[in-house]
């Protein structure tokens, strides 16, 4: 009976929350947003340009940071003390300092290491952005991969080795495919954060989505209209990304664990209204 009461209270609270936020949103959308500005081709074009630039930066940084993360994860479990420590140091540094600081180091600091006029990049902002996002998220992906490897039972390595596989072969054939599956959710999470982190690039002069907002807001003195654009564009990227991750997770479900989890969650749902299916 008590379970049911708690459930009901939760439903009322959640419903109230949705009503309040929905009401506020409806009020903003009806009083604050200038729909002719919202639909004007000028704004649409500028946001579209920023949107496609962000997508390019995200795709490149994603691929690079996941590749780097695999290397870092492998470094973390290396039998070599040197490799292990370097990987650990890398993770500590890039996880332990703000991305904004890292972007400043790369964007402002690095070109100063060359004599005036000698720095080979004329437009350094986008390369700097990709390098910063890759290095930063490579550290997080690396930790996700290491966690994924740690979660593979030791018996898997032993079984593979007992068949005569070398350690490297056992990692490649047996441990890593399982580690990847274990790490997928955490990696997906991190890559969604990467998408949102592109908003920081506005401060190193990358013409991305937030910089279009700042520009329109200061010209039109109207924050809400461009904010609608910003919200929709980010959600478009992050939501397609979660779809992609879900797809990947389904693909690497070996028809086994889903049953096991089904059985386990069946145990947990001994709940009095009997609504759940096992």
């Amino acid at each position: 009976m008590r379970d049911r009461l708690v459930k009901r209270v939760g439903e009322v609270a959640a419903g109230g929350f949705v009503l309040a936020i929905g009401g506020l949103l409806a009020w903003i959308l009806s009083t604050q947003v200038d729909y002719s500005l919202l639909a004007s081709p000028l704004i649409a074009r500028r946001f579209a340009e920023a949107f496609f630039l962000v997508i390019q930066i995200v795709v490149i940084s994603s691929l690079l940071s996941v590749s780097l993360g695999v290397l870092v994860g492998l470094g973390r479990i290396s039998t070599s003390n040197v490799t292990g420590r370097i990987a650990k140091g890398y993770v500590e540094f890039f996880r332990g300092t703000p991305l904004l600081f890292q972007l400043f180091v790369i964007y402002f600091g690095v070109p100063r290491l060359w004599a005036t006029g000698e720095f080979p990049f004329t437009d350094w902002a986008i390369p700097a952005a990709i390098i910063g996002l890759t290095l930063n998220h490579g550290a997080y992906v690396g930790e996700a991969i290491r966690g994924g490897i740690d979660a593979v039972p030791n018996g898997q390595m032993e079984a593979a080795r007992s068949l005569g596989m070398s350690r490297v072969m056992a990692l490649r054939q047996v441990v890593l495919p399982q580690a990847w599956r274990n790490a997928l959710a955490a990696i997906g999470n991190d890559q969604i954060i990467l998408v949102k982190d592109t908003s920081l690039l506005t401060v190193i002069a990358v013409p991305e989505i937030m910089s279009v907002f700042r520009n329109i807001n200061s010209n039109q003195l109207d924050p809400w209209t461009p904010l609608v654009w910003v919200c929709v564009l980010y959600l478009a990227i992050t939501m397609s990304m979660s779809q992609l991750v879900n797809g990947l997770e389904r693909r690497s479900d070996w028809g086994s664990d889903s049953r096991m989890f089904g059985r386990l969650s069946g145990l947990g749902s001994g709940d009095d209204d009997g609504g759940e299916e096992a």
Binding site: P153, G155, Q156, E158, A159, A160, R161, S162, L163, G164, M165, S166, M169, Q173, V174, P177, Q178, R181, S252, W254, G255, S256, D257, R259, M260
Partner: protein, 242 residues
């Protein structure tokens, strides 16, 4: 060949400061089935794991057909020693067939088709031809363990080690696994088994090695062991079981 196929010669093994094997001598002749029994913590499983160097030994030697296991390349020696584990350890991301074919393909470099054909024959031998495309998660414990046996056999080892392979199984699934092992014994496979199944030990074992506290306390023909152990420790152990 004159000497024994597998020879544990004065094996000492420690984990840090704790010594778990003391001067263990065990010989296994070709085609023989040696069953290692003894109370928990007596070092039976550790002894097996030393044989294919999942554990390194601190003293003595282990020889396969006269050749020191310790001095041979580890990946080389393991191909000749098959091992089956208590917890199956099948690769969950591979089908039963792929589990069996993986090592012949990757380690021995057999062509995929050939490896798969051989794997399919082995699955047939353990009675699982119809489960070739199943993933381990969809198999029962007994079926998984039979796939694990096929997987070890796929490398065509000279000796098979079985480490309490029925201990993690539901009682009604033990029989199907023991049947497969009995079949191997009948085919003349050299085997070392660690087990708590005394009935099975009696049936399939040529010789019994009783271990206690890291030492071999009795080493004798199966029949004479079950008729009456010669040592007091052996009598104690048996009386507690029967």
């Amino acid at each position: 060949m004159t000497g024994p196929l597998v020879e544990f010669d004065g094996v000492d093994k420690s984990f840090g400061d704790t010594q778990v094997l003391y001067d263990v001598d065990v010989d296994v002749d070709e085609g023989e089935v040696v069953v290692v029994i003894g109370p928990s913590g007596s070092g039976k499983s550790t002894l097996l794991r030393c044989a294919n160097r999942l554990e390194e030994i601190q003293g003595g030697d282990i020889r396969l057909d006269g050749q020191s296991v310790i001095e041979t390349d580890v990946n080389e020696i393991r191909q000749q020693i098959g091992m089956v584990f208590q917890s199956f350890n099948l690769f969950p991301h591979k089908t039963a067939l792929e589990n069996v074919a993986l090592a012949p393909e990757k380690v021995k470099g057999e062509p995929e088709e050939e490896a798969k054909r051989a794997a399919s024959d082995l699955l047939d031998r353990v009675g699982l031809a119809d489960q070739a495309e199943s993933y381990p998660g969809a198999l029962s414990g007994g079926q998984q363990q039979r796939v694990a046996i096929a997987r070890a056999l796929a490398m065509e080892p000279r000796v098979m080690l079985f480490d309490e392979v029925t201990s993690a199984l539901d009682p009604e699934l033990v029989g199907e696994v023991l049947d497969v092992i009995e079949g191997l014994a009948a085919d003349g496979m050299t085997m070392v088994l660690v087990t708590h199944e005394m009935g099975f030990a009696r049936e399939v074992g040529d010789r019994i090695v009783l271990m206690a506290d890291g030492r071999v306390v009795e080493r004798t023909e199966t029949r004479s062991f079950f008729d009456g152990p010669s040592t007091e420790r052996g009598q104690q152990f048996l009386s507690r079981l029967l």
